[in-house]
């Protein structure tokens, strides 16, 4: 049986977490639109208690190859933050941003480090707006980038949940670039113990 770290007041707490995703990703979308000099929209975040097995389905399944920038959040409310994009979106981003002649297959050293830097900027702005909003001390590790199967990458962010159940709370926000679906996702997976800290920082009554 999986335990729900959100406890009671579930619907209300889900709304608070949506707002957390909204503020974080909203700020990151602004950063991205400045980089691209183009409007970048995002969908309303979804917050769900999702079985491990289904998390990768959000980005095309366990074996879907994605580019992921991962950073571990330390400080008052630890958690895992992923910025995930599909390969065609990544190539488009590199073409638009750097006017690069990108490789058809694979990634050059330059492309790889540019993507890492984009992810770094976006994840950093997500996190800093979250820290401002909650007044919590949140300190990111140096981001790491990987191009690999979504299942292999995302399972890494589930270890903290594995010890207490078979599902995790996921705050998912999707980016859109103009009308084009950029298929960029922010996944924030706070550690189970972080919810009470986030809620009390935002004045949500504890049960």
């Amino acid at each position: 049986m999986s335990m729900n770290p959100l406890g009671s007041l579930e619907a209300f707490k889900m709304d608070v977490l949506k707002e957390v995703g909204n503020i974080g990703a909203g700020n990151a979308a602004t950063a991205l639109s400045r980089l691209l000099d183009k409007p970048v929209d995002m969908n309303v975040p979804t917050v769900s208690l999702i079985p491990f097995e289904q998390i990768a389905d959000k980005v095309g399944g366990n074996e879907q190859v994605v580019i992921a920038v991962f950073l571990r959040v330390e400080g008052d409310a630890p958690g895992n933050l992923f910025f995930i994009i599909h390969e065609d979106s990544a190539k488009r981003l590199l073409r638009n941003l750097l006017s690069m002649d990108v490789l058809e297959e694979g990634y050059s050293e330059m492309e790889y480090s540019a993507l890492g830097e984009i992810g770094n900027i976006l994840a950093g702005s997500y996190l800093s707006s979250l820290a401002d909003f909650t007044q919590l001390y949140l300190s990111p590790t140096v981001p790491a980038i990987a191009v690999d199967m979504a299942g292999a990458i995302l399972s890494y962010g589930l270890v903290q949940y594995g010890e207490m159940g078979d599902s995790a709370v996921l705050i998912d926000t999707t980016f859109l670039e103009g009308k084009e679906e950029m298929a960029g996702h922010f996944f924030l997976i706070p550690d189970p113990e972080s919810f009470n800290k986030i809620f009390s920082a935002l004045g949500v009554p504890n049960e």
């Binding site: 049986m1 999986s2 335990m3 491990f52 097995e53 990768a56 399944g61 366990n62 074996e63 190859v65 991962f70 571990r72 590790t141 140096v142 790491a144 990987a146 191009v147 690999d148 199967m149 979504a150 299942g151 292999a152 990458i153 995302l154 399972s155 890494y156 589930l158 270890v159 903290q160 594995g162 010890e163 207490m164 159940g165 078979d166």
Partner: protein
């Protein structure tokens, strides 16, 4: 290959197959896909281990397929019930990668290598020889085990297809 013959093993899951069916688990990162095989009666089992030991479990009743120390004994028992003889079992495994390299080497970050170590300890405890492995490094793997040939096929994005 007949698609219907594929038995899917999820994350923190285990399955037994026989008579040529293929056991498959996808997107192994730090998780380990471990297979046991009794060649004489063609009974195979696969477990997708997520965590090294149930000592860290903070749940009252947990999924025993999730931890190396509880899933492997359970898989042995299920295969025995299918007529396999544990004394003949041989093992193979893949996965246990460290998907992201960090300088701060906390225990959580080393979860892949710890899963591999724990699986090996369990195999030693049950005297099951480990025939081959493709573990560690920093990339994801999808594995398929053929319950007729005992071959473990490993697919990865960077390294292509490997058979062990």
């Amino acid at each position: 290959m007949i698609v219907d013959n594929v038995v899917k093993v999820g994350m923190a899951d285990l399955k037994v197959a026989a008579g040529g069916a293929i056991l498959k688990t996808t997107g192994l990162g730090s998780c380990v896909g471990l297979t046991l095989f009794d060649e004489r009666c063609k009974v195979a089992g696969m477990v997708h281990v997520m965590l090294p030991t149930s000592e860290i479990a903070r749940e009252a009743s947990f999924n025993i397929a999730k931890y190396a120390d509880t899933s492997i004994p359970h898989l042995i028992e299920l295969m025995r019930q299918e007529g396999a003889e544990p004394a003949r079992f041989v093992a193979k495994m893949a996965g246990g990668a460290q998907m992201f390299a960090f300088t701060t080497g906390s225990d959580t970050m080393r979860i892949g290598p710890r899963n591999v170590e724990s699986c090996k300890r369990m195999l030693q405890r049950f005297n099951i020889p480990l025939l081959s492995e493709d573990t560690g490094l920093n990339y994801g793997r999808t594995v398929e085990f053929n319950s007729m040939s005992g071959m473990l096929t490993i697919r990865s994005v960077q390294q292509g297809v490997k058979e062990i």
